[in-house]
Amino acid sequence: MARRRLTALVVTLGSLVGAAALWRRRSGKGKEYVDVYFADGSMVTFAEGSDEAARLLPIARRLLSSAR
């Protein structure tokens, strides 16, 4: 009986951790980033907080407000 409860507890905790990770990943997608694609096929992502993103994000925000 105790073993069954322990298994249920482990499964429940595992599910909670998985759901939390999935939620964090999904919510992270809405954050700020810059994807830059080059002619040679390479691509680089500048994440929020990087120097490149700090340079590019204000320009993009200005562009967005001009377009809306």
Binding site: V36, Y37, F38, S42, R61, L63, A67, R68
Partner: protein, 141 residues
Amino acid sequence: MLGLPAVDAAQALADLVEISAQIEAAVLAAADGTVLASTLADEERAGAVARDAVELLQAAAGGAGGPVQLQVAVPEGSVFVVRDEERLVAAVTGRDPTAGLVLYDLKTCLRLAGENVRPAKKAASRARKKKDDGEVADGAA
């Protein structure tokens, strides 16, 4: 873009906005930022979008040369810029767009706009050659 008809810049942009429901506004411009066509009614705003798109491409240039396309995502929405040798197209979308589809549609728009320029150049070249041939024939007669 084989098999697609030649269209002018405004038509290419109109087609783009019709095809891609995710695109809220778009501006087609020359590489220097001169506006060729826009879905925005206000010319000043279209010019500002084109200038910012040029600035974005310049600011994003890195060791691998100039970027050919980029996406900037912020909580308010996304900005996309795609360029070729002569033109660029900038578009804005809402939050979490399907980036691959938007970029594909923007590249198609650029190609369609380019199709209009190339036949015109060929026609001018043909006309010039015809004129030269005519002058040679006149000289011979």
